[in-house]
């Protein structure tokens, strides 16, 4: 305490000519060089610009959405109808929310275990000569445009899923959820399968990176105890990678929730919630916006924007939940 105060007191007399705000006084504080000042202005400007753009977008969406909602004659959350261009307009997001969440959940249930398996195979089982090309191919899958997945889904997946659906109907049909009535397989479940394939690469490659970073010293600790390779993974790799896998899954979920073209290409949309996931029909937020934007009038477009806002909030909630899960595990991770 004494030392700092004495140096602070003694510094002004040490430089007699220095007035506050002069070059010498600034030099003591740090950033005075022109390069520093330009860079500071640039980086601060970009940061501010981003915030301004975000605020502008949010304000625009909120205003347009409010406009639509004030004209809506139905209940925005419970109405099973989307007649936003009728007079008076009647629309609700119940079907879209259901379709979006259900198809994304199906995608997660299928994709995450497979992705973890593939990632572990690449990081801990495959010989090096095989691991590198395999990882490359998986990354390449992420680069395929979603419309290509959509076309493949519509032209190949839909005609070939009938067999699987009949089989599921035979064994699980009694649940009602997996009953199948011989229609075209343009259902939410098909969307789930397609989305699973689409999010597989991103979940796999992020998980793989995390598994590769698992500390060698803990793997060796497990090995030295007489663990088999699977036991090493269970003791030293999976616990270390847990939060990374959750983040990877959330990235995948984000993509599944917002996927547009592939869903719009495959699904035969309807504003009903069927008893069975295998029956055609349903819709998602993004698909509905893409399918009906062009034919929409003023209010119709605003209504679509309102539904888009809901999707945005949904994605935010998902990310928030993921962060909570990761934070709760902090105590035990390094």
């Amino acid at each position: 305490m004494d030392i700092t105060s004495s140096t602070a007191d003694s510094s002004p007399p040490a430089r007699p000519g220095a007035k506050p705000g002069s070059k010498a006084a600034n030099a003591a504080k740090g950033a005075t060089r022109p390069g520093d000042r330009i860079f500071l202005a640039l980086s601060r400007g970009s940061g501010l610009l981003l915030l301004v753009i975000m605020a502008a977008i949010a304000a625009f969406l909120a205003v347009r959405a409010t406009n639509a909602l004030s004209h809506n004659e139905g209940n925005f959350f419970t109405t099973f109808e989307w007649s936003a261009n009728a007079t008076p307009p009647v629309f609700g997001i119940a079907v879209l929310a259901f379709g979006t969440i259900v198809s994304s959940l199906i995608a997660m249930i299928i994709a995450v275990p497979v992705a973890i398996g593939v990632a572990l195979f690449i990081s801990h089982y495959a010989p090096r000569r095989l691991a590198a090309p395999l990882a490359y191919v998986i990354d390449l899958l992420a680069a395929v445009p979603s419309i290509v997945y959509g076309l493949w889904g519509a032209l190949f997946l839909v005609p070939h899923l009938g067999g699987l659906y009949s089989w599921m109907n035979d064994y699980l049909g009694w649940t009602g959820v997996f009953a199948y009535h011989d229609g075209a397989a343009r259902s939410l479940f098909t969307i789930g399968i397609l989305l699973a394939i689409m999010i597989l690469p991103i979940v796999t490659s992020v998980s793989r990176e995390v598994f590769l970073q698992a500390p060698k010293m803990h793997e060796e600790a497990a090995l030295a105890l007489g663990a088999t390779r699977w036991e090493v993974i269970r003791m030293a790799v999976l616990p270390f990678g847990r939060s990374g896998v959750i983040s990877a899954s959330m990235l995948g979920l984000g993509r599944a929730l917002g996927e547009t073209m592939a869903v719009a290409t495959v699904l035969s949309p309807s504003f009903t919630i069927g008893k069975s996931l295998l029956d055609p029909g349903g819709g998602t937020f993004a698909q509905n916006i893409a399918s009906s934007f062009k034919e929409s009038g003023e209010i119709g477009k605003d209504a679509l924007i309102a539904s888009g806002l809901v999707l945005f909030v949904l994605t935010l909630l998902v990310n928030g939940a993921a962060r909570l899960i990761i934070a709760r595990r902090k105590e035990y991770s390094e």
Binding site: A221, G226, E334
Partner: protein, 259 residues
């Protein structure tokens, strides 16, 4: 419990590079054998061949024989996993599993080896192992706290407790004190003195005083030059190695004239 190790004509490779060349030695049961020698002389590599951990390293390969009593660890059809259950290991840096509690860390090996075990029985083994590692008194009230929350010296003793919980025949220690302060080092050295009543102990160390303090026999390793494989120069009673070694190079190393 403790078994004799008999190594003959053992060489180890990293890919095409030969790390140690043609080593033969006997390690007596219920005793401490120390490996000393300059860095890069292959003493850690040799230690890792004794529980088949060397071959885990990509490109790692071993030639020769390691007999544990009358079983060749490198014999045809020997499962490296079961070898490692018989020959335990403690590493240079304390490495308790960070996601596990103190209790779970000690129980980890038993859960692997025994599969299912009754809770009361497991409690017993955990307490016995922690007592065996002179750690019980310090942690008995926080068995469910993360093992990573302990001090470095306590973590290392936790790792020793984890290793001895599965009742191995041999305990290998790879510079177990090099990351610890003098007090924790002393605690580990005392512990080694107690553990040799039950186990065959092999310890690699860079600290010659430590080798002199804890070991009954000492092996000196050396290498002819950079890129050359390491060789065993001699192995003898520790007292003899430190007072009157039979090879000049050993005396030079111990008296600090090189290395």
């Amino acid at each position: 419990m403790a078994k004799r190790i008999d190594v003959s004509g053992l060489s180890a490779y990293y890919g095409t590079h030969k790390a140690i060349d043609d080593i033969s030695m006997t390690v007596e049961p219920r005793s401490v054998t120390a490996f000393i020698g300059p860095s890069g002389c292959g003493k850690s590599t040799f230690l890792r061949t004794l529980n088949r951990m060397h071959e885990v390293t990509p490109g790692g390969r071993v030639e020769g024989k390691v007999m544990l009593d009358d079983e060749n660890l490198y014999g045809a059809g020997v499962d490296p996993v079961s070898v490692r259950r018989t020959v335990g290991m403690v590493f240079q840096r304390p490495n308790p599993f960070p996601t596990m509690s103190i209790y779970e860390n000690v129980a980890a090996g038993i859960r692997l080896n025994g599969g299912r075990i009754r809770k009361a029985e497991l409690d017993d083994v955990v307490e016995k192992s922690l007592q065996g590692a002179n750690l019980w008194k310090e942690v008995k009230d926080r068995l469910n706290k993360p093992g990573a929350g302990l001090s470095g010296g306590q973590q290392q003793r936790l790792c020793i407790a984890r290793a001895i919980a599965v009742e191995p025949q041999v305990l290998l220690m790879d510079e177990p004190c090099s990351a610890l302060d003098p007090i924790s080092t002393l605690a580990i050295e005392d512990l080694i003195g107690e553990l040799k009543e039950r186990f065959t102990i092999v310890i690699v160390t860079h600290n010659m005083q430590q080798a002199a303090r804890v070991s009954d026999r000492t092996a000196f390793f050396n290498l002819a030059g950079v890129g050359q494989p390491g060789k065993l120069v001699e192995i003898d009673e520790t007292a003899r190695i430190f007072s009157n070694p039979s090879v000049q190079a050993t005396e030079d190393y111990i008296s600090g004239r090189f290395g």
